[in-house]
């Protein structure tokens, strides 16, 4: 698919550089007037430019249906950057970035758009005196993904002489297993898997990558990271806000698709995978795939026992009364879309057999927090008396991803005094106290990785299908069940009481 020759020799000048070279590239954003481009992509590109991280030759083309000129697009891009960039733009850098931006208006299924794009790309190559790598970024509604991919193939833009061509596809990648498989087939009919970068911006977050550092850079935890020492694990992604104005999207997505199928399952994979031999795209993704394949999808009759859905009802969040989901603008009367989902999964392999993994996510909950709580088994024999105290409790390792990224280890400690009374205490580590540098936005990292051809933090085709394969039976069961009442939980609470039924005896949800 790509025609660039293998490197004749190593580049000795890159040794020791923090910012590795990126081949001269043209980035084509489909859906360039959309919300994602406006809030994330354009500001991320500015920050890369500010830091001198963009390739030495960099061109940007925006494509969208809106009929506007290059200058109109530049004006919108300027506004996006000034409003959403994490740093105040330097006027000279901003002008430099905006100066060469191009805009191509047109419908994504219009052949003429791709003819003009072909012409524009050739113009850039001529100007640079060398073929530029091409990255097509699909930041459109998902129904356009196959159309754009097909048109790129038809126009012969899926490959270039002496340059790499890559395609970045935003989430959601599919709506269920069948649609994900269909989309994979459509994409892979035109592009080779090595050219495809399926984005889940969660993986670009420093906090998520730190999970790998926590597990694989510390010998302390590995000996206990298995079924012999761990009793159960829970992963929580709680939000204290509702659906905002996104009823149109959310009614079709629901909590399971919105957060569990992608972000939370990725956390589960990173938490449970075997150590990769190297931090390389396929090494890492092979290990993730293995562990995802070890999660046996539930049979239809098992779904009610391992999964729970619920909706928020009217309640109070942060002292403010909020409406229930069914009262939100744009939500269909009697909607059965879940705003809360909880699951109990098992990873059926040597390391994790028998250990329950509880996942829960929801909107309008008591607190915004994303955390992984690993509860260890109790000590085998307790010589200490716990009279007069809350007693000895199982150790917990709590990995907080937001709002304050850190690690807490809960230990038992003696209460000062004459007796041997024990209570749990926390040993806390907060990343914010140890790294004063500001983390780059996930999109900065991911755009740069895609331009560089590093797919480590992107999802592979088989991984996507494995993720959907776990979730699909639950989606199907919920879709087919049109009569069982959907449990309700008051906005501002910790979620539905019914979620307790998913827990094995002796287990409990950590307080939000």
């Amino acid at each position: 698919m790509t025609a660039a020759a293998a490197p004749a020799q190593e580049n000795p000048l890159v040794e020791g550089l923090e910012r590795l070279p990126v081949h001269p590239t043209v980035l084509v954003i489909f859906g360039a007037t959309g919300d994602l481009a406006h809030r994330k992509l354009l500001p991320a590109l500015y920050n890369l430019a500010h830091e001198g991280a963009l390739p030495e030759r960099f061109e940007l083309v925006g494509i969208a249906r809106r009929n506007q000129s290059h200058d109109d697009f530049r004006a919108v891009a300027r506004e996006s950057i000034e409003r959403f960039s994490r740093r105040k733009p330097d006027p000279d850098v901003l002008e430099g970035l905006l100066d060469d931006m191009r805009y191509l208006p047109g419908s994504f299924d219009d052949d003429r758009v791709y003819e003009r794009l072909t012409h524009t790309l050739a113009e850039f190559d001529d100007k640079a005196g060398q073929p530029l790598n091409r990255v097509f970024y699909l930041s459109t509604a998902p129904e356009f993904f196959p159309i754009i991919v097909g048109e790129l193939g038809k126009a012969g833009l899926h490959a270039a002489e002496r340059a790499e061509t890559r395609i970045v596809i935003e989430k959601p990648f599919g709506y269920d297993l069948a649609s994900a498989r269909r989309l994979n087939a459509q994409v892979l009919e035109v592009f080779d898997e090595s050219q495809v970068f399926r984005i889940d911006h969660y993986l670009g977050k420093e906090t998520v990558q730190n999970l790998l550092a926590f597990r694989f850079a510390n010998a302390l935890f590995e000996p206990v990271w298995n079924r012999n020492f761990i009793d159960y694990v829970q992963i929580t992604a709680a939000e204290d806000i509702g659906i905002g104005g996104r009823a149109g999207y959310y009614e079709h997505a629901g909590a399971l698709r919105d957060l569990v199928q992608n972000h939370m399952m990725q956390l589960l994979a990173l938490l449970t995978m075997e150590p990769p031999i190297a931090f390389e795209a396929n090494r890492l993704r092979d290990e993730k795939l293995k562990v995802l394949e070890a999660i046996v999808p539930p049979r239809p009759e098992e779904v009610a026992n391992i999964a729970l859905r619920a909706q928020y009802a009217r309640g109070v969040v942060g002292g403010k009364e909020v409406p229930g989901y069914l009262e939100e603008d744009g939500v269909a009367p009697g909607s059965r879309t879940e705003t809360y989902a909880a699951l109990r999964l098992h990873v059926s392999n040597w390391r994790w057999a028998g250990i329950p993994f509880y996942l829960r996510t929801g909107k309008e909950l008591a607190r915004k927090v994303t955390e992984i709580v690993v509860t260890l088994k109790p000590v085998p024999h307790l010589a200490l008396r716990s009279t007069g105290s809350v007693g000895v409790q199982a150790n917990q390792i709590i990995l907080t991803l937001q709002p304050d990224e850190g690690v807490t280890i809960q230990l038992g400690a003696k209460i000062p005094g004459t007796g041997m009374r024990i209570r749990p205490v926390n040993m806390e580590f907060r990343y914010g106290t140890s790294f004063l540098s500001e983390s780059p936005e996930a999109y900065e990292r991911l755009i740069l990785d895609a331009m560089r051809g590093d797919a480590t933090l992107f999802t592979r085709n088989d991984e996507i299908e494995a993720l959907w394969g776990i979730i699909d039976p639950i989606l199907t069961a919920w879709r087919e069940d049109t009569t069982t009442p959907i449990p309700q939980y008051p906005a501002g609470s910790a979620g539905p009481k019914e979620a307790d039924a998913l827990l094995d005896p002796g287990h409990r949800w950590n307080r939000l």
Partner: protein
Amino acid sequence: MSQDVWSAENTTPDEVEAALRGLLRRAHAANDLLAPARVLNLVVVIGAERKDEIAERLSRVGRYHASRTVLCTVHEGRTTLDATAAIHYEEPRNGIGVVLEQVEIEIGPSHLAHLETIVDPVVVSELPTVLWRPGGADEVVDRLLGLTDVILLDSDEHADPASALVRARELLGSAYVVDLAWLRTTPWRERVAASFDPPWRRPALERIAGVSVRHRDSSQACALLWAGWLASRLGWAPAPLGEGPSGAGLAGGATRAEAEVGVRLEPVELRTPGLAGVTVACTDGFALSLDRSPGGLRARRQAPDGEETSWKVLGASRGEGGILGEGVRQALLRDPTYGPALDAARGFCPA
């Protein structure tokens, strides 16, 4: 930014350390979301005449503040030790509030003989300690080497670049060295590396016929380090440079395999320390020039057939505050290419 301060005259390091602990304890008791930063100690030793300037530079490092900064100011004629300890923090809103600590110690020349006994008690012992001695890495640095993990220096500050590089090499044997002059070359190293990165252009690295470095007059060490970097990465044997054409700058060469590579260092007018431009020319007529320009670098490439193209490489200037901040950040990293570049740069120094 909130601030709690303690100060005392004729005090001791132990009292300073106890005062800091007290400030932290009281802040945490008032708001348990406040937590002290634990990244590194930065110890700065300066003469009183430079205190304001250095304090101003430290205030401009942006987010790369050390977690505990210990500023020792030496006053002529002073015999007592006075100190101020302060903690600074943003009031936490949605998360923790990170607390930064600053200690200012006023001492006299007589204290320098036992400076390590003053500094040691006030640094956080389990954290790396970075030592910065603006103006030159003199015997004060030697005295504090035992408690120093990283030495922050600026080879451009020394009047004699050759001596500065010799001193940096000496210190590199005792601690990790972060050289601000080296950090000023970073964008130039990155961009030249990127220009030669396309696989079809890499063979040109073996055909380099000459390099020229345009630098501020006072930044010859920076220019030598950039040339030294190229020489060390490409396996050139540097030879001492002589006086440049018309008496300005330095010129000479290095040997690559059996070929000669011309090296020129040209001083130019430049408002800020560092490099103004670099040119790399190959035997087949290919040449690449990078020069400072608003909002980045202006790149010019000449193809072997003589055709010229030019474009802008985007990137914001870091400024001297940013360079110092970068120096603090680099103290947590390790650059394996500085030592070899330093050695090659010394090889270029005039005999």
